[in-house]
Symmetry: C2
Subunit: 343 residues, 2 copies
């Protein structure tokens, strides 16, 4: 099992291009061309491919990267502490979707996490080191440092979620505003007139945009909006906020929670207080993650197409790397209200 060798030396070395070339009876350059789709006669190409197949040839990434000055790798930058990422289904989906999409396109995705001790420097080093051809950033928090860094790196970059500064970065996002509006309109349509909004911190564009939609729906309906309780997108925050809500007079008759986790926390708080959704307070969430159907009552919520979102970001990146041009951006994906039991 264990070879007590020096690191990385004992394994049988895989076949090299030279060996393939020799086996196919051609020169290395011809073999390279045959394999990468350069000029080569049909017979040669086939012979080389056969030889490569037989020898189990897989091009050495490092060598190729060195020669071509590109790495076929992209950074997936998530400027959050790792401990946060797995509490956030959004990021989990983004991570796996982007990874899979890159993988399919022959790009190696590299997760770049934030070192809690040294938030930006680690990322900076990595992005400057010529180890990736591009970066996809999924960030919720305003962080000027990071944006400067990305600008300075002059690395093709795609944001998932509108970047706070509204700068020149290509990005994809869901239509947070319209989603929030539809949720609010649904509650208004149910006759609710004192709708509270449980939201995320307003240094995230998602929270800002969802709040805007919430207010917009009220304005259009001529109804006075209820309070906005700023917190975080977590169940704990929902639980805390709902406590404050229940002490208000007049008590709100509905809640628009900006995430499913917030909604779940809120419902938990209601249940604990002997109240039920939707009878006492109607609750609408945002996300439509697994939680929505794991809690009782099942959550009425705004479904956001996170998979498609991440896919769009990856496509944008891949397109740029292939053609040198950016595709159309921003891409704003629609949300969809899913009516279940809680409102």
């Amino acid at each position: 099992m264990s070879d007590a060798s020096t690191p990385g030396s004992a394994r049988p070395r895989p076949a090299t291009l030279d060996e393939v070339a020799r086996a196919a009876g051609v020169s290395r350059s011809t073999a390279s061309r045959a394999l990468t789709g350069g000029v080569a006669s049909a017979a040669t190409a086939q012979a080389v491919r056969r030889a490569a197949q037989e020898l189990g040839f897989v091009p050495n990434r490092a060598a190729r990267g060195l020669a071509r000055n590109c790495t076929d790798a992209i950074a997936l930058v998530i400027p959050e502490t790792p401990s946060f990422i797995f509490y956030d289904p959004f990021l989990a989906i983004v991570t796996s979707t982007v990874s899979a999409a890159c993988w399919k396109a022959g790009l190696q995705p590299m997760m770049v996490l934030m070192d809690p001790d040294d938030p930006v420097h680690t990322i900076e080093r990595f992005l400057h080191s010529g180890n990736v051809d591009g970066a996809i950033v999924a960030s919720f928090h305003h962080s000027l440092q990071l944006e400067q860094l990305l600008t300075a790196a002059a690395l093709p970059t795609v944001f998932i979620g509108r970047p706070p500064a509204g700068g020149d970065f290509p990005y994809v996002d869901v239509d947070n505003r319209a989603g929030a509006r539809s949720a609010t309109e649904h509650l208004l349509g149910l006759g609710r007139r004192r709708i509270a909004c449980l939201g995320g911190a307003l240094d995230m564009t998602a929270a800002v945009d969802r709040r805007a939609g919430f207010l917009e729906a009220h304005r259009q309906a001529g109804v006075e909006p209820g309070p906005y309780l700023e917190g975080s997108f977590t169940a704990r925050s929902g639980l805390e906020s709902v406590g404050r809500l229940l002490r208000m007079d007049p008590r709100p008759d509905a809640i628009f929670a900006q995430s499913d986790a917030l909604a779940a926390g809120a419902i938990q708080g209601l249940t604990a207080a002997g109240l039920t959704a939707p009878d006492d307070l109607a609750v609408v969430g945002f996300d439509d993650f697994a939680t929505a159907t794991e809690i009782f009552p099942n959550l009425t919520t705004v479904a956001q197409p996170v998979v498609e979102l991440a896919q769009a970001a990856a496509d944008l990146m891949v397109g740029h790397l292939k053609t040198g041009q950016w595709g159309a951006w921003p891409q704003i994906l629609p949300t969809r209200l899913v009516v279940r039991q809680s409102a």
Copy 2:
């Protein structure tokens, strides 16, 4: 924004070792030694480091890998379809923790996903290509093919979760058996006597081991174990199983669910049937993920230290890469029963 250049050529190239060497007034080989901790006089070392600092030198990974014949990268193999990974908090945590740990150790983690069309070949190609120094496998499902493949690759490999064949692979795991036993003992201690077990498919060692603990606790207490309902670790499976459970006669008075998601589904089924936990049926989960505190009643559950688990796997790998020797394995981490409301 968009440079209409060919892929990967326009960015300002980072400083090379040659430039650092010149700036420090030494040869390239000396600079290399100074930076990598080889022999070098104190004065030289300092001059080189200063120059590197000033020029923002970051060694080119590809070049280093090519020269040293090792990649400083490890594969994180998750032989599941990407669409599954983000439904499973366990894998999400494993992914981010391992990534962060490798990152810290100067290793580049590379996620290797399974191509649904071609389950093993893609992985095989990757592992054989000499692009990684080792592999960490987080897999729940028995897959002989994969194990053969890993053996053949002769790549240092660590499993997260006991590998099905019980082979010679270094691995880390939580003490599933003891965890299940403590959960069952808790239920027995509450006076429950007809405890059903909702479990995962028995081609996963986690399910097998948890079932063993469940049975063991019953044997020790001299109580006849209730039925084992084989399903998957999902809320849907829990919902379905609880339906069957409620039609049984005599009806079980408690449920040990092998995951929080299963438990959440079960509680949802109970609630829908007008029953409550723990009054009608006591429910214990396994995981202690976010769901546990997002549902009502809050879940009594067996907390498993997934972060530590992933960290241990990464440490094992890093240790082997550094020293050529495997540290002690298997490492079996303890679980801890967290008593909340549901039992």
